[in-house]
Amino acid sequence: MKLGNIFLPTAVCVALLLGWELFVWWAQVPAYTLPAPSAVIESLVANWSSLAGSWWFTVKITLSALGLACLGGVLIASVFALSPSTERALFPLAVVLQVTPIVAVAPLMLIYIESTMAALLLCAWIVAFFPILSNTVIGLRSIDKNLLDLFRLYRATPWQRLALLRAPSALPYFLAGVKISGGLSLIGAVTAEMVAGAAGRDTGLASRILEASFRTETPKMFAALLLLVATGVMVFLILNFLSRKLLVQQPSLE
């Protein structure tokens, strides 16, 4: 079963790449139109020094945005769960932030915020925090009423209620939100960077893609894209692993 889980998707990937490589070779497609996978790898190796720096910049934005989304999402969700009137007052604002396309907001952020890094971080955060917020609110709200009564009967303090009941009850919901936000923070970071269109040393993979597109360096565009995809997959796998580790205590909820 486990072997099948790994073998099948790997086989499909290898077959697709092989088909791509053969098609480019057979149809004599020029590299600026569609580079073969081998040319992409070649470009990745040749441009490694500039791509690696940019990759690290994008990773930093993505992970910082995700970290801040976890922190902000949980804090705001806790306030919402404790005070329904605050939720009624502020939730529409959270929805407005969520439904406004980040591509449309990013230029404004770049005007108002002096530091490009901070603006990029804010854009990625806006995209990433909502799933964590809404999931955690649902988690904090969906506590068994009888368990709440039991904690009241045993005169539990608010802190005990939070640590021993609310937090563990909300954990699976929070982790599901984090898994969605992991991918979204990468998307937010790259989108904002595309809009910023910043050039220079301290920029991310989106800038390398834009740069390469101006110079018709299609293999380099693919090489940067490959790094982005690999980053997204890594983030997903790491979050999946953490989620399983944390939920191992909850066999019924795994």
Binding site: Y154, Q160, L165, P251
Partner: protein, 253 residues
Amino acid sequence: MITLNHVTKRFGSGLVALGGVSMSAAQGEFVTILGPSGCGKSTVLKLVAGLVMPTEGTVVSPAQTDQTGRSTAYVFQEPTLLPWATVFDNVWLPLRLQGQSRPEAQPVIARVLEQVGLGEFHHSYPAQLSGGMKMRVSIARALVSQPKVLLMDEPFAALDDITRQRLNVDLLTWWHGQSMSAIFVTHNVAEAVFLSQRVLVMGARPGKVVAEVQIEQAYPRDVSFRQTPAFIHHCQTLSAALNEASGVGMRPR
């Protein structure tokens, strides 16, 4: 020890759950409240536990004055366990909330788990247990703080009949071992007769006590009690009272 005096409970929706209920339970007494669905049986338990307040009338119970949370234990219809915690940690909960550390609580928890027949399941999670075993954990959690009052809200309603009868016998043993008052809610007549010293029959809309039957049989009681003429007679009397309280003939469950 526990007294309800002309208690009325009206909820925000306008629903009158209880309309002038008066009842009492002495220290160490086993009282069962028998009644049709919706007659306010659970509301009586919540009033005794201090989880809801009466609209009119007075309630006197240890939970009203207890600041430590040790006086009263509650067993719900569902086991109501923490799914992420082991059997041991679930039973530890009341003591933990009162500030007892794991090593401090260990001997008491081990004894109670042994008593309810779960001595080998300390490290199991609720999802790994059967319905009857989960209910045993729930009862162990109630017993571990040695409460003065044990409140049970149809705890065996969801279990099969064999498990229910076995748990009835065991429950009497556990209750008899600790001199606590027990208020048990059910709509099962045989269960009410088997367990209690006194059965209160409640009628609905609004809920009130309409009949009271003393069960004289001494403890310990075992399954042979179910075959005696006295048992059958009490069952017939209570069934008739229950049918009258329900306002219908033989109501199918």
